[in-house]
Symmetry: C2
Subunit: 317 residues, 2 copies
Protein backbone atom coordinates (compact mmCIF):
# COMPACT_ATOMS: atom_id res chain seq x y z
CA UNK A 1 0.00 0.00 0.00
CA UNK A 2 1.17 3.48 -0.87
CA UNK A 3 2.28 5.79 1.93
CA UNK A 4 1.33 9.44 2.19
CA UNK A 5 4.60 10.81 0.82
CA UNK A 6 4.85 8.25 -1.99
CA UNK A 7 1.27 9.09 -2.91
CA UNK A 8 2.04 12.79 -3.19
CA UNK A 9 5.27 12.15 -5.04
CA UNK A 10 3.64 9.73 -7.47
CA UNK A 11 0.45 11.59 -8.34
CA UNK A 12 0.70 15.23 -7.31
CA UNK A 13 4.27 16.41 -7.94
CA UNK A 14 4.41 17.96 -11.38
CA UNK A 15 6.93 20.82 -11.56
CA UNK A 16 5.69 24.39 -11.20
CA UNK A 17 6.61 27.13 -13.68
CA UNK A 18 5.13 30.34 -12.30
CA UNK A 19 5.34 29.72 -8.55
CA UNK A 20 8.63 30.52 -6.79
CA UNK A 21 8.37 27.22 -4.92
CA UNK A 22 5.84 24.42 -5.34
CA UNK A 23 5.13 21.44 -3.09
CA UNK A 24 7.69 19.74 -0.86
CA UNK A 25 8.43 22.44 1.72
CA UNK A 26 6.30 23.70 4.62
CA UNK A 27 4.71 26.34 2.38
CA UNK A 28 4.51 27.09 -1.32
CA UNK A 29 5.91 30.49 -2.32
CA UNK A 30 4.16 32.72 -4.85
CA UNK A 31 5.13 36.07 -6.31
CA UNK A 32 2.03 37.88 -7.67
CA UNK A 33 2.68 40.44 -10.41
CA UNK A 34 3.15 44.05 -9.22
CA UNK A 35 -0.10 46.01 -8.86
CA UNK A 36 -2.21 42.88 -8.64
CA UNK A 37 -4.57 41.95 -5.83
CA UNK A 38 -5.06 38.32 -4.90
CA UNK A 39 -8.44 36.63 -5.27
CA UNK A 40 -8.86 33.60 -3.00
CA UNK A 41 -11.63 31.00 -3.08
CA UNK A 42 -12.22 27.72 -1.21
CA UNK A 43 -14.69 24.92 -1.93
CA UNK A 44 -15.06 21.56 -0.25
CA UNK A 45 -16.71 18.59 -2.01
CA UNK A 46 -18.01 15.70 0.09
CA UNK A 47 -19.04 12.35 -1.36
CA UNK A 48 -22.81 11.88 -1.34
CA UNK A 49 -23.37 15.63 -0.99
CA UNK A 50 -21.56 17.28 -3.89
CA UNK A 51 -20.91 14.26 -6.01
CA UNK A 52 -22.28 10.74 -6.28
CA UNK A 53 -20.15 7.67 -5.67
CA UNK A 54 -20.81 6.81 -9.34
CA UNK A 55 -18.75 9.73 -10.66
CA UNK A 56 -15.64 8.75 -12.64
CA UNK A 57 -12.52 9.85 -10.69
CA UNK A 58 -11.14 11.93 -13.60
CA UNK A 59 -14.40 13.89 -13.69
CA UNK A 60 -14.23 14.38 -9.94
CA UNK A 61 -10.70 15.79 -10.30
CA UNK A 62 -11.98 18.15 -12.98
CA UNK A 63 -15.03 19.27 -11.04
CA UNK A 64 -13.25 19.87 -7.72
CA UNK A 65 -10.97 22.38 -9.44
CA UNK A 66 -13.66 23.74 -11.80
CA UNK A 67 -15.94 24.93 -8.99
CA UNK A 68 -13.09 26.99 -7.54
CA UNK A 69 -12.02 28.37 -10.92
CA UNK A 70 -15.64 29.40 -11.41
CA UNK A 71 -15.33 31.63 -8.32
CA UNK A 72 -12.16 33.20 -9.74
CA UNK A 73 -14.02 33.76 -13.04
CA UNK A 74 -16.86 35.48 -11.19
CA UNK A 75 -14.29 37.94 -9.77
CA UNK A 76 -12.59 38.52 -13.13
CA UNK A 77 -9.39 36.99 -11.74
CA UNK A 78 -6.68 35.19 -13.67
CA UNK A 79 -5.76 31.80 -12.11
CA UNK A 80 -2.36 31.54 -10.42
CA UNK A 81 -2.03 28.61 -8.01
CA UNK A 82 -4.10 26.16 -5.99
CA UNK A 83 -3.74 23.83 -3.02
CA UNK A 84 -5.46 20.46 -2.68
CA UNK A 85 -6.54 18.77 0.56
CA UNK A 86 -7.72 15.24 -0.10
CA UNK A 87 -9.17 12.71 2.33
CA UNK A 88 -9.43 9.19 0.89
CA UNK A 89 -10.75 5.98 2.45
CA UNK A 90 -7.61 4.26 1.10
CA UNK A 91 -4.68 5.06 -1.19
CA UNK A 92 -6.10 3.49 -4.36
CA UNK A 93 -3.75 3.86 -7.33
CA UNK A 94 -6.47 3.52 -9.97
CA UNK A 95 -8.58 6.23 -8.36
CA UNK A 96 -5.62 8.53 -7.78
CA UNK A 97 -4.14 8.38 -11.26
CA UNK A 98 -7.54 9.08 -12.86
CA UNK A 99 -8.33 11.85 -10.36
CA UNK A 100 -4.93 13.47 -10.99
CA UNK A 101 -5.42 13.18 -14.78
CA UNK A 102 -8.73 15.07 -14.70
CA UNK A 103 -7.39 17.64 -12.24
CA UNK A 104 -4.20 18.41 -14.15
CA UNK A 105 -5.95 18.48 -17.56
CA UNK A 106 -8.14 21.37 -16.41
CA UNK A 107 -5.29 22.99 -14.45
CA UNK A 108 -3.05 23.08 -17.51
CA UNK A 109 -5.82 24.43 -19.71
CA UNK A 110 -6.60 27.14 -17.14
CA UNK A 111 -2.94 28.02 -16.50
CA UNK A 112 -3.12 27.28 -12.77
CA UNK A 113 -0.52 25.30 -10.80
CA UNK A 114 -0.88 22.84 -7.92
CA UNK A 115 1.53 24.21 -5.31
CA UNK A 116 0.78 22.24 -2.18
CA UNK A 117 -1.74 20.50 -0.03
CA UNK A 118 -2.45 17.64 2.27
CA UNK A 119 -3.56 14.03 1.88
CA UNK A 120 -4.98 11.89 4.62
CA UNK A 121 -7.11 8.84 5.23
CA UNK A 122 -10.77 9.65 5.82
CA UNK A 123 -14.19 9.80 4.16
CA UNK A 124 -13.75 10.91 0.51
CA UNK A 125 -13.51 14.71 0.65
CA UNK A 126 -11.80 17.16 -1.69
CA UNK A 127 -11.04 20.70 -0.55
CA UNK A 128 -9.34 23.09 -2.96
CA UNK A 129 -8.24 26.67 -2.41
CA UNK A 130 -7.60 28.59 -5.61
CA UNK A 131 -5.61 31.80 -5.77
CA UNK A 132 -5.88 34.19 -8.69
CA UNK A 133 -4.82 37.74 -9.39
CA UNK A 134 -6.73 40.74 -10.65
CA UNK A 135 -5.56 44.32 -11.24
CA UNK A 136 -6.15 46.37 -8.08
CA UNK A 137 -9.67 47.81 -8.05
CA UNK A 138 -10.90 45.82 -11.07
CA UNK A 139 -12.36 42.73 -9.38
CA UNK A 140 -15.99 41.98 -10.28
CA UNK A 141 -18.04 42.16 -7.06
CA UNK A 142 -21.65 41.39 -6.20
CA UNK A 143 -22.41 44.87 -5.01
CA UNK A 144 -22.46 47.06 -8.14
CA UNK A 145 -25.87 46.24 -9.68
CA UNK A 146 -28.07 49.35 -10.14
CA UNK A 147 -31.75 49.75 -11.18
CA UNK A 148 -32.05 49.72 -14.96
CA UNK A 149 -29.04 47.46 -15.54
CA UNK A 150 -29.51 44.36 -17.67
CA UNK A 151 -29.09 40.89 -16.14
CA UNK A 152 -27.13 38.38 -18.23
CA UNK A 153 -26.10 34.73 -17.92
CA UNK A 154 -23.49 32.72 -19.78
CA UNK A 155 -24.04 29.30 -21.37
CA UNK A 156 -27.13 27.23 -20.57
CA UNK A 157 -28.79 26.56 -17.23
CA UNK A 158 -30.44 23.60 -15.57
CA UNK A 159 -28.87 20.52 -17.19
CA UNK A 160 -26.86 19.58 -14.09
CA UNK A 161 -30.00 19.62 -11.99
CA UNK A 162 -31.87 17.61 -14.62
CA UNK A 163 -29.12 14.97 -14.42
CA UNK A 164 -29.57 14.84 -10.65
CA UNK A 165 -33.33 14.32 -11.12
CA UNK A 166 -32.59 11.39 -13.42
CA UNK A 167 -30.34 9.87 -10.75
CA UNK A 168 -33.13 10.45 -8.25
CA UNK A 169 -35.61 8.65 -10.53
CA UNK A 170 -37.82 11.70 -11.06
CA UNK A 171 -37.00 12.11 -14.76
CA UNK A 172 -36.17 9.56 -17.43
CA UNK A 173 -33.97 10.33 -20.45
CA UNK A 174 -32.75 8.29 -23.42
CA UNK A 175 -29.04 7.31 -23.18
CA UNK A 176 -27.39 10.03 -25.25
CA UNK A 177 -29.51 12.80 -23.69
CA UNK A 178 -28.59 11.49 -20.24
CA UNK A 179 -24.89 11.48 -21.21
CA UNK A 180 -25.18 15.16 -22.17
CA UNK A 181 -26.84 16.35 -18.97
CA UNK A 182 -24.57 14.15 -16.87
CA UNK A 183 -21.62 15.79 -18.58
CA UNK A 184 -23.04 19.20 -17.58
CA UNK A 185 -23.19 18.00 -13.96
CA UNK A 186 -19.79 16.31 -13.84
CA UNK A 187 -17.66 18.45 -16.19
CA UNK A 188 -18.67 22.09 -15.68
CA UNK A 189 -16.55 24.56 -17.63
CA UNK A 190 -15.38 27.57 -15.57
CA UNK A 191 -15.95 30.80 -17.52
CA UNK A 192 -12.51 32.28 -16.94
CA UNK A 193 -12.10 34.03 -20.30
CA UNK A 194 -15.52 35.63 -19.93
CA UNK A 195 -14.70 36.76 -16.39
CA UNK A 196 -11.58 38.66 -17.41
CA UNK A 197 -13.35 40.04 -20.53
CA UNK A 198 -16.06 41.50 -18.26
CA UNK A 199 -13.62 43.58 -16.18
CA UNK A 200 -14.67 47.23 -16.43
CA UNK A 201 -17.91 46.14 -18.15
CA UNK A 202 -20.02 44.09 -15.70
CA UNK A 203 -21.28 46.07 -12.71
CA UNK A 204 -21.85 42.90 -10.61
CA UNK A 205 -21.11 39.21 -11.12
CA UNK A 206 -21.57 35.87 -9.35
CA UNK A 207 -21.18 32.28 -10.41
CA UNK A 208 -24.28 30.09 -10.31
CA UNK A 209 -23.54 27.28 -7.91
CA UNK A 210 -26.67 27.19 -5.73
CA UNK A 211 -29.31 28.00 -8.36
CA UNK A 212 -30.26 31.24 -10.10
CA UNK A 213 -32.90 32.28 -7.54
CA UNK A 214 -30.55 31.94 -4.57
CA UNK A 215 -27.46 33.36 -6.26
CA UNK A 216 -29.27 36.33 -7.79
CA UNK A 217 -30.61 36.92 -4.27
CA UNK A 218 -27.00 37.34 -3.07
CA UNK A 219 -26.39 40.00 -5.73
CA UNK A 220 -29.64 41.78 -4.83
CA UNK A 221 -28.75 41.90 -1.12
CA UNK A 222 -25.16 43.00 -1.79
CA UNK A 223 -26.31 45.70 -4.24
CA UNK A 224 -29.51 46.72 -2.40
CA UNK A 225 -31.72 46.23 -5.46
CA UNK A 226 -34.55 44.04 -6.81
CA UNK A 227 -34.78 42.15 -10.08
CA UNK A 228 -37.19 40.78 -12.65
CA UNK A 229 -36.36 37.70 -14.74
CA UNK A 230 -38.27 36.60 -17.84
CA UNK A 231 -38.16 32.81 -17.59
CA UNK A 232 -38.76 32.32 -21.31
CA UNK A 233 -35.44 33.97 -21.99
CA UNK A 234 -33.44 31.58 -19.78
CA UNK A 235 -31.04 29.66 -22.05
CA UNK A 236 -31.56 25.88 -21.85
CA UNK A 237 -30.68 22.76 -23.77
CA UNK A 238 -33.13 21.07 -26.14
CA UNK A 239 -33.33 18.16 -23.70
CA UNK A 240 -34.36 20.38 -20.80
CA UNK A 241 -36.74 22.34 -23.07
CA UNK A 242 -38.69 19.11 -23.68
CA UNK A 243 -39.38 18.47 -19.98
CA UNK A 244 -42.63 19.39 -18.16
CA UNK A 245 -42.85 23.09 -17.26
CA UNK A 246 -42.57 22.65 -13.47
CA UNK A 247 -39.44 20.52 -13.79
CA UNK A 248 -37.96 23.01 -16.27
CA UNK A 249 -38.54 25.90 -13.88
CA UNK A 250 -37.08 24.01 -10.98
CA UNK A 251 -33.95 23.08 -12.96
CA UNK A 252 -33.52 26.60 -14.36
CA UNK A 253 -34.25 28.61 -11.22
CA UNK A 254 -33.34 26.40 -8.27
CA UNK A 255 -30.93 24.05 -9.99
CA UNK A 256 -27.50 24.54 -8.63
CA UNK A 257 -24.24 23.25 -10.08
CA UNK A 258 -24.56 25.38 -13.24
CA UNK A 259 -21.22 27.18 -12.83
CA UNK A 260 -22.27 29.77 -15.36
CA UNK A 261 -21.74 33.49 -14.70
CA UNK A 262 -24.66 35.74 -13.86
CA UNK A 263 -23.78 39.41 -14.26
CA UNK A 264 -25.24 42.87 -14.68
CA UNK A 265 -24.28 45.69 -17.04
CA UNK A 266 -25.84 48.99 -18.18
CA UNK A 267 -28.04 48.73 -21.31
CA UNK A 268 -25.61 51.09 -23.07
CA UNK A 269 -23.01 48.32 -22.98
CA UNK A 270 -25.02 45.55 -24.68
CA UNK A 271 -22.83 45.43 -27.77
CA UNK A 272 -19.68 45.30 -25.59
CA UNK A 273 -21.10 42.42 -23.51
CA UNK A 274 -21.96 40.48 -26.66
CA UNK A 275 -18.48 41.13 -27.97
CA UNK A 276 -16.96 39.87 -24.66
CA UNK A 277 -19.00 36.67 -25.06
CA UNK A 278 -17.76 36.21 -28.62
CA UNK A 279 -14.14 36.71 -27.59
CA UNK A 280 -14.59 34.23 -24.72
CA UNK A 281 -16.42 31.84 -27.07
CA UNK A 282 -19.40 31.45 -24.78
CA UNK A 283 -23.03 32.42 -25.35
CA UNK A 284 -24.30 35.35 -23.27
CA UNK A 285 -28.05 35.88 -22.90
CA UNK A 286 -29.96 38.83 -21.50
CA UNK A 287 -32.57 37.42 -19.10
CA UNK A 288 -34.03 40.37 -17.23
CA UNK A 289 -33.29 43.62 -15.48
CA UNK A 290 -32.40 45.16 -12.14
CA UNK A 291 -35.05 47.36 -10.50
CA UNK A 292 -35.50 49.36 -7.31
CA UNK A 293 -37.96 46.94 -5.70
CA UNK A 294 -36.81 44.69 -2.89
CA UNK A 295 -38.15 41.55 -4.55
CA UNK A 296 -37.10 38.99 -7.11
CA UNK A 297 -39.87 38.37 -9.65
CA UNK A 298 -40.01 35.66 -12.28
CA UNK A 299 -42.29 36.49 -15.20
CA UNK A 300 -43.83 33.50 -17.01
CA UNK A 301 -44.52 33.16 -20.75
CA UNK A 302 -47.75 35.14 -20.33
CA UNK A 303 -45.90 38.05 -18.75
CA UNK A 304 -47.43 37.33 -15.31
CA UNK A 305 -45.34 36.45 -12.22
CA UNK A 306 -44.85 32.74 -11.48
CA UNK A 307 -46.62 31.78 -8.27
CA UNK A 308 -44.04 29.28 -7.03
CA UNK A 309 -41.13 30.40 -4.83
CA UNK A 310 -37.70 28.96 -5.70
CA UNK A 311 -35.16 28.59 -2.94
CA UNK A 312 -31.43 28.26 -3.51
CA UNK A 313 -29.66 25.07 -2.56
CA UNK A 314 -28.62 24.90 1.09
CA UNK A 315 -26.34 22.13 2.28
CA UNK A 316 -27.86 22.13 5.77
CA UNK A 317 -31.52 22.13 4.72
Amino acid sequence: MLGEFELISKYFSRPVRRAVLGGGDDCALLAPDPGMQLAVSTDMLVEGRHFLSTVAPDRLGHKALAVNLSDLAACGAEPLAFTLALALPRADGGFLSAFARGLYALAERAGIELVGGDTTAGPLTVSITAIGQVPAGQALLRSGARPGHDIWVSGQLGDARLALEVFRGRALLPGSAFDDVRRAMELPEPRLALGTALRGLATAAIDLSDGLAGDLGHVMRASGVGATIEVDRLPRSTVLGLQPADLQYECLLAGGDDYELLFTAPPSRRAAVEDAGRRAQVAVTRIGSVDDSDTLRFLGPDGRPLAHAFAGFDHFK
Copy 2:
Protein backbone atom coordinates in the same frame (compact mmCIF):
# COMPACT_ATOMS: atom_id res chain seq x y z
CA MET B 1 -32.03 24.23 12.21
CA LEU B 2 -29.51 26.73 10.91
CA GLY B 3 -29.03 27.08 7.16
CA GLU B 4 -25.64 27.33 5.47
CA PHE B 5 -25.71 31.11 4.99
CA GLU B 6 -27.11 31.83 8.47
CA LEU B 7 -24.39 29.60 9.90
CA ILE B 8 -21.63 31.55 8.14
CA SER B 9 -23.21 34.87 9.02
CA LYS B 10 -23.69 33.91 12.68
CA TYR B 11 -20.32 32.30 13.46
CA PHE B 12 -17.79 33.21 10.79
CA SER B 13 -18.39 36.80 9.70
CA ARG B 14 -16.18 39.04 11.79
CA PRO B 15 -15.03 42.12 9.82
CA VAL B 16 -11.60 42.07 8.18
CA ARG B 17 -9.09 44.87 8.67
CA ARG B 18 -6.14 44.07 6.42
CA ALA B 19 -7.84 42.25 3.56
CA VAL B 20 -9.32 44.36 0.75
CA LEU B 21 -12.46 42.21 0.84
CA GLY B 22 -13.37 39.43 3.27
CA GLY B 23 -16.13 36.82 3.03
CA GLY B 24 -19.44 37.32 1.24
CA ASP B 25 -18.34 37.56 -2.40
CA ASP B 26 -17.11 34.84 -4.78
CA CYS B 27 -13.52 35.44 -3.71
CA ALA B 28 -11.71 37.29 -0.95
CA LEU B 29 -9.33 40.01 -2.15
CA LEU B 30 -5.89 40.49 -0.59
CA ALA B 31 -3.20 43.05 -1.26
CA PRO B 32 0.22 41.74 -0.08
CA ASP B 33 2.79 44.38 0.79
CA PRO B 34 5.18 45.38 -2.04
CA GLY B 35 8.29 43.17 -2.29
CA MET B 36 6.68 40.32 -0.38
CA GLN B 37 6.25 36.77 -1.59
CA LEU B 38 3.25 34.75 -0.49
CA ALA B 39 3.64 31.62 1.61
CA VAL B 40 0.68 29.22 1.30
CA SER B 41 -0.06 26.16 3.42
CA THR B 42 -3.02 23.74 3.60
CA ASP B 43 -3.88 21.16 6.26
CA MET B 44 -6.94 18.97 6.58
CA LEU B 45 -8.05 17.51 9.93
CA VAL B 46 -10.39 14.53 9.94
CA GLU B 47 -12.20 13.30 13.05
CA GLY B 48 -10.69 10.06 14.36
CA ARG B 49 -7.45 10.64 12.44
CA HIS B 50 -6.16 14.03 13.54
CA PHE B 51 -8.33 14.59 16.55
CA LEU B 52 -10.44 12.47 18.83
CA SER B 53 -14.18 12.93 19.16
CA THR B 54 -13.49 13.84 22.80
CA VAL B 55 -11.72 17.11 21.92
CA ALA B 56 -13.48 20.27 23.11
CA PRO B 57 -14.69 22.26 20.05
CA ASP B 58 -12.81 25.43 21.06
CA ARG B 59 -9.57 23.43 21.17
CA LEU B 60 -10.36 21.95 17.77
CA GLY B 61 -10.84 25.46 16.36
CA HIS B 62 -7.48 26.45 17.84
CA LYS B 63 -5.64 23.39 16.59
CA ALA B 64 -7.00 23.47 13.03
CA LEU B 65 -5.56 26.95 12.60
CA ALA B 66 -2.43 26.31 14.70
CA VAL B 67 -1.16 23.49 12.47
CA ASN B 68 -1.31 25.79 9.44
CA LEU B 69 0.30 28.71 11.28
CA SER B 70 3.07 26.31 12.26
CA ASP B 71 3.83 25.82 8.55
CA LEU B 72 3.97 29.59 8.05
CA ALA B 73 6.32 29.81 11.06
CA ALA B 74 8.58 27.15 9.54
CA CYS B 75 8.92 29.37 6.45
CA GLY B 76 9.55 32.55 8.46
CA ALA B 77 6.32 34.03 7.09
CA GLU B 78 4.07 36.59 8.76
CA PRO B 79 0.37 35.51 8.79
CA LEU B 80 -2.00 37.41 6.51
CA ALA B 81 -5.27 35.59 5.81
CA PHE B 82 -6.87 32.16 5.90
CA THR B 83 -9.83 30.29 4.46
CA LEU B 84 -11.84 27.64 6.28
CA ALA B 85 -13.65 24.67 4.72
CA LEU B 86 -15.77 22.89 7.28
CA ALA B 87 -17.85 19.73 6.91
CA LEU B 88 -20.18 19.06 9.85
CA PRO B 89 -22.62 16.23 10.48
CA ARG B 90 -25.18 18.88 11.49
CA ALA B 91 -25.28 22.62 12.15
CA ASP B 92 -24.92 22.47 15.95
CA GLY B 93 -24.89 25.92 17.54
CA GLY B 94 -23.04 24.85 20.69
CA PHE B 95 -20.26 23.22 18.68
CA LEU B 96 -20.01 26.10 16.23
CA SER B 97 -19.84 28.91 18.75
CA ALA B 98 -17.12 27.13 20.75
CA PHE B 99 -15.20 26.17 17.59
CA ALA B 100 -15.36 29.78 16.35
CA ARG B 101 -14.24 31.09 19.76
CA GLY B 102 -11.08 28.95 19.75
CA LEU B 103 -10.38 29.70 16.13
CA TYR B 104 -10.75 33.47 16.40
CA ALA B 105 -8.83 33.68 19.70
CA LEU B 106 -5.72 32.27 18.03
CA ALA B 107 -6.36 34.18 14.78
CA GLU B 108 -6.50 37.50 16.61
CA ARG B 109 -3.39 36.72 18.61
CA ALA B 110 -1.53 35.73 15.42
CA GLY B 111 -2.80 38.70 13.40
CA ILE B 112 -4.43 36.56 10.71
CA GLU B 113 -7.91 37.11 9.26
CA LEU B 114 -10.59 34.65 8.14
CA VAL B 115 -11.42 35.83 4.61
CA GLY B 116 -13.59 33.08 3.17
CA GLY B 117 -14.41 29.43 2.99
CA ASP B 118 -17.10 26.86 2.63
CA THR B 119 -19.38 24.97 4.99
CA THR B 120 -21.25 21.81 4.17
CA ALA B 121 -22.89 18.80 5.74
CA GLY B 122 -20.57 15.77 5.94
CA PRO B 123 -18.28 13.81 8.26
CA LEU B 124 -16.53 16.27 10.63
CA THR B 125 -13.57 17.62 8.63
CA VAL B 126 -11.71 20.92 8.90
CA SER B 127 -9.52 22.13 6.06
CA ILE B 128 -7.69 25.44 6.41
CA THR B 129 -5.47 27.23 3.92
CA ALA B 130 -3.26 29.89 5.49
CA ILE B 131 -1.57 32.64 3.49
CA GLY B 132 1.41 34.55 4.85
CA GLN B 133 3.97 36.90 3.44
CA VAL B 134 7.75 36.89 3.62
CA PRO B 135 10.29 39.28 2.06
CA ALA B 136 11.31 37.95 -1.37
CA GLY B 137 14.23 35.52 -1.04
CA GLN B 138 14.09 35.31 2.78
CA ALA B 139 11.76 32.31 3.27
CA LEU B 140 13.20 29.52 5.44
CA LEU B 141 13.41 26.37 3.30
CA ARG B 142 14.30 22.74 4.01
CA SER B 143 17.18 22.68 1.58
CA GLY B 144 19.92 24.81 3.15
CA ALA B 145 21.39 22.49 5.84
CA ARG B 146 25.15 21.90 5.37
CA PRO B 147 27.59 19.52 7.13
CA GLY B 148 28.82 21.06 10.36
CA HIS B 149 25.66 23.07 11.02
CA ASP B 150 23.98 22.70 14.41
CA ILE B 151 20.50 21.21 14.68
CA TRP B 152 18.08 22.99 17.01
CA VAL B 153 14.51 22.54 18.19
CA SER B 154 12.12 24.90 19.92
CA GLY B 155 10.07 24.11 23.02
CA GLN B 156 9.65 20.53 24.26
CA LEU B 157 8.93 17.38 22.29
CA GLY B 158 6.82 14.28 22.80
CA ASP B 159 4.03 15.35 25.15
CA ALA B 160 1.34 15.23 22.44
CA ARG B 161 2.31 11.67 21.61
CA LEU B 162 2.35 10.74 25.28
CA ALA B 163 -1.23 12.05 25.56
CA LEU B 164 -2.22 9.85 22.63
CA GLU B 165 -0.66 6.84 24.36
CA VAL B 166 -2.75 7.59 27.45
CA PHE B 167 -5.90 7.69 25.30
CA ARG B 168 -4.78 4.39 23.77
CA GLY B 169 -4.36 2.87 27.24
CA ARG B 170 -0.62 2.29 26.87
CA ALA B 171 0.40 4.86 29.50
CA LEU B 172 -1.29 5.98 32.68
CA LEU B 173 -0.86 9.46 34.18
CA PRO B 174 -2.26 11.21 37.26
CA GLY B 175 -4.94 13.83 36.45
CA SER B 176 -2.91 17.04 36.38
CA ALA B 177 -0.07 15.45 34.39
CA PHE B 178 -2.63 14.14 31.90
CA ASP B 179 -4.16 17.62 31.61
CA ASP B 180 -0.72 19.01 30.75
CA VAL B 181 0.12 16.53 28.01
CA ARG B 182 -3.42 16.68 26.66
CA ARG B 183 -3.02 20.44 26.43
CA ALA B 184 0.17 19.91 24.39
CA MET B 185 -1.80 17.68 22.01
CA GLU B 186 -4.87 19.86 21.72
CA LEU B 187 -3.48 23.40 22.03
CA PRO B 188 -0.16 23.51 20.16
CA GLU B 189 1.39 26.97 19.98
CA PRO B 190 2.67 27.92 16.51
CA ARG B 191 6.19 29.40 16.75
CA LEU B 192 5.51 32.42 14.55
CA ALA B 193 7.74 34.91 16.38
CA LEU B 194 10.63 32.45 16.32
CA GLY B 195 10.11 31.80 12.60
CA THR B 196 10.43 35.44 11.64
CA ALA B 197 13.34 35.91 14.09
CA LEU B 198 15.20 33.08 12.30
CA ARG B 199 15.10 34.78 8.86
CA GLY B 200 18.67 35.18 7.66
CA LEU B 201 19.87 32.99 10.54
CA ALA B 202 18.52 29.46 10.12
CA THR B 203 19.87 27.62 7.07
CA ALA B 204 16.95 25.17 6.99
CA ALA B 205 13.71 24.81 8.96
CA ILE B 206 10.70 22.54 9.21
CA ASP B 207 7.85 22.21 11.67
CA LEU B 208 7.56 18.94 13.56
CA SER B 209 4.18 17.48 12.68
CA ASP B 210 5.01 13.85 11.84
CA GLY B 211 7.75 13.19 14.43
CA LEU B 212 11.37 14.29 14.60
CA ALA B 213 12.78 11.26 12.76
CA GLY B 214 10.49 11.65 9.76
CA ASP B 215 10.62 15.43 9.58
CA LEU B 216 14.39 15.63 9.98
CA GLY B 217 14.49 13.05 7.17
CA HIS B 218 12.70 15.57 4.91
CA VAL B 219 15.36 18.20 5.68
CA MET B 220 18.14 15.67 5.04
CA ARG B 221 16.73 14.67 1.65
CA ALA B 222 16.05 18.29 0.61
CA SER B 223 19.55 19.37 1.71
CA GLY B 224 21.43 16.21 0.64
CA VAL B 225 23.00 15.70 4.08
CA GLY B 226 23.04 13.32 7.05
CA ALA B 227 22.54 14.08 10.73
CA THR B 228 23.35 12.87 14.23
CA ILE B 229 21.03 13.55 17.16
CA GLU B 230 22.00 13.12 20.82
CA VAL B 231 18.77 11.86 22.37
CA ASP B 232 19.75 13.00 25.87
CA ARG B 233 19.65 16.57 24.66
CA LEU B 234 16.08 16.39 23.39
CA PRO B 235 14.00 18.81 25.48
CA ARG B 236 11.12 17.09 27.26
CA SER B 237 8.67 17.71 30.07
CA THR B 238 9.21 16.28 33.55
CA VAL B 239 6.18 14.03 32.98
CA LEU B 240 7.66 12.53 29.82
CA GLY B 241 11.10 12.27 31.47
CA LEU B 242 9.59 9.94 34.08
CA GLN B 243 8.31 7.42 31.49
CA PRO B 244 10.13 4.18 30.52
CA ALA B 245 13.00 4.76 28.09
CA ASP B 246 11.40 3.03 25.08
CA LEU B 247 8.20 5.08 25.44
CA GLN B 248 10.23 8.27 25.87
CA TYR B 249 12.20 7.59 22.69
CA GLU B 250 9.07 6.81 20.75
CA CYS B 251 7.36 10.00 21.91
CA LEU B 252 10.45 12.15 21.29
CA LEU B 253 11.51 10.71 17.94
CA ALA B 254 8.40 9.34 16.27
CA GLY B 255 5.78 11.37 18.11
CA GLY B 256 4.12 13.73 15.74
CA ASP B 257 1.86 16.66 16.60
CA ASP B 258 4.70 18.56 18.30
CA TYR B 259 4.40 21.70 16.13
CA GLU B 260 7.79 22.86 17.30
CA LEU B 261 10.38 24.18 14.83
CA LEU B 262 13.42 22.10 13.93
CA PHE B 263 16.10 24.18 12.24
CA THR B 264 19.79 24.30 11.40
CA ALA B 265 22.33 27.11 11.72
CA PRO B 266 26.12 27.44 11.56
CA PRO B 267 27.92 27.04 14.93
CA SER B 268 29.18 30.63 14.54
CA ARG B 269 25.58 31.83 15.01
CA ARG B 270 24.82 30.10 18.33
CA ALA B 271 24.54 33.33 20.31
CA ALA B 272 22.28 34.84 17.64
CA VAL B 273 20.00 31.75 17.70
CA GLU B 274 19.76 31.93 21.48
CA ASP B 275 18.95 35.61 21.23
CA ALA B 276 16.22 34.87 18.66
CA GLY B 277 14.72 32.36 21.11
CA ARG B 278 14.78 34.93 23.91
CA ARG B 279 13.10 37.57 21.73
CA ALA B 280 10.44 35.04 20.68
CA GLN B 281 10.08 33.89 24.31
CA VAL B 282 10.54 30.23 23.48
CA ALA B 283 13.29 27.83 24.56
CA VAL B 284 15.70 26.75 21.81
CA THR B 285 17.86 23.66 22.34
CA ARG B 286 20.81 22.38 20.33
CA ILE B 287 20.22 18.64 19.80
CA GLY B 288 22.83 17.50 17.27
CA SER B 289 24.59 18.33 14.06
CA VAL B 290 24.44 17.97 10.31
CA ASP B 291 27.05 15.72 8.68
CA ASP B 292 27.98 14.50 5.21
CA SER B 293 26.74 10.94 5.75
CA ASP B 294 23.51 9.84 4.16
CA THR B 295 22.09 8.50 7.40
CA LEU B 296 20.22 9.75 10.44
CA ARG B 297 21.84 8.47 13.66
CA PHE B 298 20.43 8.74 17.15
CA LEU B 299 23.10 8.53 19.86
CA GLY B 300 21.95 7.16 23.23
CA PRO B 301 23.11 8.27 26.69
CA ASP B 302 26.20 6.04 26.35
CA GLY B 303 27.20 7.76 23.10
CA ARG B 304 26.35 4.65 21.06
CA PRO B 305 23.70 4.61 18.31
CA LEU B 306 20.21 3.46 19.30
CA ALA B 307 19.36 0.19 17.59
CA HIS B 308 15.67 0.92 17.00
CA ALA B 309 14.50 2.61 13.79
CA PHE B 310 11.91 5.36 14.21
CA ALA B 311 9.52 6.03 11.35
CA GLY B 312 7.59 9.24 10.88
CA PHE B 313 3.83 9.23 11.11
CA ASP B 314 2.09 8.30 7.86
CA HIS B 315 -1.67 8.69 7.51
CA PHE B 316 -1.93 5.80 5.07
CA LYS B 317 0.16 3.26 7.00
